[in-house]
Point group: C2
């Protein structure tokens, strides 16, 4: 019996660890879903523990941990390009919310999620954190695709004068977490509070209590727009972050999404609570929502990951593009080309994201004993990746998701030479096209 399930030989491995950031040429052994060998090639030529069921020859590539997308609404692939370049509230109230009300149900959630998973795998993402409704169908799609994900069931109060049914929310939260808690090492259940302006204080605290009781992550859009800040100010006389803090919602199992409008003291609150931040620069730019003060958050030691947000406001799920934009946006905003250097940004998209999701004991770096979630970026015969002086810079500033050749999640190859292994792409696209036809004609 071979000692390894999979062996990768050659290429430049960027480990995203501090002690040995680059290994070249790399020898990476995988067994039972874990990285069990991680060495420089030259020293390992004739060892018997290098026998493997399969060997990938990776000369001329960069190997790195799979990217972590800390904020998505996967089923919204169904609305990609349906409404763009509109004022935010017009976009939301007259296009997105009505389309969701009409077309989102368990079957469409599953189809849209599988399309999203295909897109993410094809662009090098191996872990996502999704917040939506009918999230059990997102979970099922992830299991079917062999993708790692945090699936966060969504909570949003009905618009007044309807009252939220808090006991029903609590039951749904309990049921979701209990159902998915131990299904698979790939899928971790969580809860998603839509925002401090769409969830009442009672809902926020009740749902967060359920999450806390189960040790589950709780995600929430916070301080995305100035409009939100004005609403919270009017209703509660304070800012979104302080409002959540007073309610006891912020802790080290809270992922605050966007965080575009925060002052110094609020950053200190986030840090002291141990909360993490998901930064979605492209979505916030496209909606003119705001710019998160990421360098300041990072300077305080707050975990920050990258997210694409949903496809209705981006309009893709490619974290390579997101890295490029994140690096450039903060340079121009802060008038400082040295901030958000390529290594920092790549760190946000990998180990930073893993830390945000509470998965940093398993993923986010290439380390002995960590889960074998890794991607292989092909450099050969690519003019835009030639020459190679600095692999970090090349990945952030020149590569795109289309350069990812191979994706491995939990030791399993899910993309091989850009062919999806676990997803029947033609069938998924046919399903989505049928749904899109209904959306077009509605």
């Amino acid at each position: 019996m071979p000692a390894l399930d999979l062996l990768i030989r050659g290429g430049t491995a960027l480990t995203l660890t501090d002690d040995r950031p680059r290994i070249q040429p790399a020898v990476i052994g995988i067994r039972d879903g874990l990285i069990t060998l991680l060495e420089e090639g030259s020293a390992t030529e004739s060892r018997s523990d290098l026998s493997a069921a399969e060997t990938l020859h990776a000369a001329g590539t960069i190997i790195l941990p799979g990217l972590v997308n800390t904020h998505t609404h996967l089923p919204m692939t169904l609305f990609r390009g349906l409404a763009d370049d509109l004022p935010l509230m017009d976009w939301l109230n007259h296009h997105i919310f009505p389309a969701e009300a009409r077309h989102i149900h368990p079957d469409t959630v599953y189809a849209g999620s599988l399309l999203a998973l295909a897109e993410m795998i094809l662009s090098g993402t191996t872990t996502f954190c999704d917040g939506y409704f009918y999230e059990e169908r997102v979970a099922q799609a992830a299991l079917d695709a062999g993708m790692r994900g945090i699936v966060a069931e969504g909570f949003l109060d009905p618009p007044p004068p309807q009252a939220p049914d808090t006991p029903a929310q609590v039951r749904r939260a309990e049921r979701f977490l209990a159902r998915w808690q131990s299904i698979s090492p790939l899928v971790t259940p969580a809860l998603f509070l839509h925002s401090p302006y769409t969830c009442s204080p009672a809902s926020l605290t009740a749902v967060k209590d359920v999450a806390r009781h189960h040790g589950a992550l709780c995600c929430i859009h916070v301080a995305e727009t100035r409009e939100e800040a004005a609403i919270i100010r009017k209703r509660y006389g304070t800012t979104p972050v302080r409002h959540l803090h007073r309610l006891g919602v912020l802790d080290d199992k809270t992922l605050a999404v966007h965080v575009n409008w925060v002052d110094e003291e609020e950053m200190t609150i986030l840090r002291d609570c141990g909360a993490a931040v998901s930064h979605c620069p492209e979505s916030s730019m496209k909606l003119a929502a705001g710019i998160a003060p990421v360098p300041a958050l990072l300077a305080r030691g707050i975990p920050v990951g990258l997210g694409t947000d949903g496809c209705a406001s981006n309009n893709d799920l490619d974290l390579f593009g997101e890295m490029d934009t994140a690096a450039k946006l903060h340079k121009i905003q802060l008038d400082d080309p040295t901030v958000m250097d390529a290594q920092t940004v790549l760190g946000m998209a990998t180990r930073g994201g893993a830390r945000c999701l509470g998965l940093d004991d398993r993923i986010g770096t290439l380390s002995l004993g960590s889960a074998a979630d890794l991607i292989i970026v092909e450099l050969k015969n690519k003019p835009h990746l030639t020459p190679l002086y600095n692999p970090w810079s090349q990945l952030v500033y020149a590569a795109s998701g289309a350069d990812v050749a191979t994706v491995i999640i939990n030791g399993r190859i899910v993309l091989r030479d850009r062919r999806l292994v676990t997803i029947d792409l033609s069938a998924v696209i046919a399903d989505v096209e049928r749904i899109a036809d209904r959306i077009r004609s509605s």
Copy 2:
């Protein structure tokens, strides 16, 4: 003899014209390098003028005018990723200028340009405007690759105390324009003044006079950074645009590049002179140089095109990424998600760019009689381009250069199913790798 050299059938054609923006399914006929047929498919099934030497079946694609990159320094592909995330003057004075002094000569310019042309063709650019030194080698590369380009020979005074040799500059400018004026319909010679802070008033006026005498375009970096504005203020007591205006350098054959720092009156000056602007958002973000007031320039009727700038400050030549960034950057800067909508941005990257370069009588739209410079974007089996509600939005917000399947320049197929027809990519990459080895070890 067939009536057409090339026939394209099917797909959605975005013409970038006002009268008939979308033709679906499209029938496009090409003969002698020109578009000679442009109709909807249903009406043209059995016509004899549809016989063609070659037919491309384009169902499931978007066909659009080839993209126009209005500002590049092609040979700087050689320095891609050599120095990033540095203060601008450190980057320029301690990395880029020394690397250029040591490694830029006619042979390296040719190799770096061919690499750039390969990258541009692979990402859907059919026309470029380049400014560099040994520009005759860029011109030769364009001819060899079958690419359309404006090749602008560069002028830059030596640093003081050396004095510029203005008569020598004039002779070089004259020689360059005379040599390349009538070589090919593809390559148009022009002149490139580096900037108002690196060229003396005498050099600016003398070189511009030569351009004017030949009816040639004159490109110049203007108002890129606040540092430049401060230098011009100190030396001449005014702003960069006013300085150039007083010298008589601005006219309708001037392409002002960057234009990040201009006031209302300077925009009026640019408009009244008929000058055009090249907008390079990614480069200006990465160097923290500034943000051009593009919506205000467009509102004044000033022609604005998109540019990538050189690969040392971007770090790629993909105009799809540039469109996405341009659309999002101005939304967030102006706090208005309705500015720079997808159609406007796609217009900048095509007919806007053509107008900037004085080529709008030939390229920039799909029109009867225009040059057959067009690209075909493949949508089939692409999760990130599914579903398709709005082709403009899909191209700007979701597509990347890697989605371009076919590129036609002047009626000739130069990219076929993502394979370069006119460039020996392996040989080009091998040449560049040899140069990069020398750069690494220097």
